[in-house]
Chain length 234, copies 2
DNA sequence: CACAGCCAACTTGGCAACAAGTTATGCTCA
DNA sequence: TGAGCATAACTTGTTGCCAAGTTGGCTGTG
């Protein structure tokens, strides 16, 4: 017991065990250094990590405090029902905001996925999802202009993707296989989510097809703050 | 562009874009400090973070180098087929080692899940999974002694859980709903996985029931190194 | 020329001293 | 007595210096 990561573990277990509660003041860096018999710099590093992991916040001249962790929202990972509908059904204070709609430069993977050619244009539509006014998920939909002619005009006004599909005459859908992975937020994602760097994001890649024709309508990438959710598979 | 996290982002994008490849030597801390016009301590912090995220390794007196990232193994998240079978079918160099089998102290959640009482004993069986000799997943099975009388004797010899079930007369199974979450490894998990602290773990909680009687046989918790896998949902 | 050894110029690692911010106490003065 | 200000004792934040490790080139010697 001497490395800073050991102290991180220790403090996390003390916080989750209830020894320290939300907004409690933690021991000062010097106290930590004394109790664990390490130089202050080690105690300090431990606190810096905890801050980046979203467990604590610090106030210069005052001390370090336990952060209020977000509630764990149960999220069912299936493609059939829209995200907003799921959230509203569960009774959450849900909001959604479309934050961008812009053309992307050529990208082999996405163009192949949408079964389109280099001559086509593809737009990405970003929608930020809020629960209790906190941004907790980012949906990025990639749509081809050859399929959705007016996407560059109306993209920023889309609130529900399914509604938009309906207005284009697509009424029944198949979901393509979903791929899950974990990543860390980039600078812009950190800004959007207003979150520390070391909060991992759960990334869900999927797609949507028209059931009748089999045409690929959308390539979808969803980024979830992993500290806000637990995910239920069926 | 001045914070250490911005430099982390920048370097990650340079590495993934192919500007720096595996085992390439990265600019020294001082060079980073000069190019981004920050004090060396900032450059240093950025490198420390990258090291803990598993992107780079450092050699004192020599420099910092790009780490060989693990291949992404596609893992299908369904409870029907055993983990080892899936891996072997895909042609991976797969190994499994049972590393512990011990009684746990009373824990309400697990006891309830296994539908047993405080008088019962519950054992946890830990199996570490290797691919290409690298530990990449930890399976922890919780089994009740009332269901598996000889678990404390033979627990350490179990290689396949399904085989063990068969030997007890259970032949057909139902999988309970799976819950997914993300966490960071504890000290012991870090030792087992031989990994830096900031590699997130994907945690899959599930259970196994006997199809005929509906009896809950097992509470299962699987920890996957998130940097080794991409997960496919069906 | 060949080779051994030394030294200088890099690298990362660690730490101590100082800076800045906050608070509480106690002193001064009306 | 009471209000206000100075100060001391904490807190976290920052920086710069030196130690330790590695490399490669230069130099002296056979």
């Amino acid at each position: 017991m001497s490395h800073d990561l050991d102290i991180v573990d220790k403090l996390i277990s003390l916080m989750s065990s209830g020894k320290y509660n939300a907004h409690d003041r933690l021991p000062s860096e010097n106290e930590i250094a004394d109790t664990y018999e390490v130089p202050r710099i080690t105690a300090r590093k431990a606190y810096e990590r905890l801050e980046e992991m979203g467990y604590i916040y610090k106030k210069q001249g005052k001390g370090s405090y336990v952060k209020d962790r977000y509630q764990q929202i149960e999220l069912v990972l299936t493609g059939d029902v829209s995200f907003s509908q799921k959230m509203i059904e569960k009774g959450y204070d849900f909001q959604s905001k479309t934050i961008f709609c812009q053309e992307i430069k050529y990208n082999k993977k996405i163009y192949n996925y949408l079964e389109t050619t280099k001559e086509d244009k593809i737009f990405k539509v970003g929608r930020l999802r809020y629960i209790d006014r906190q941004p907790i998920a980012l949906h990025v939909s990639y749509l081809a202009k050859s399929v959705f002619e007016d996407i560059d005009d109306v993209g920023r006004d889309i609130t529900s993707m399914f509604q938009y599909y309906h207005s284009k005459g697509y009424t029944q859908f198949d979901s393509k296989p979903s791929v899950l992975s974990v990543s860390f937020p980039t600078a812009s994602q950190r800004t959007l989510f207003n979150c520390p760097h070391l909060i991992p994001l759960l990334v869900l890649e999927s797609g949507c097809m028209d059931k009748k024709t089999g045409k690929v309508l959308e390539y979808l990438k969803i980024y979830y703050r992993s500290d806000c959710f637990s995910y239920v598979l069926c």
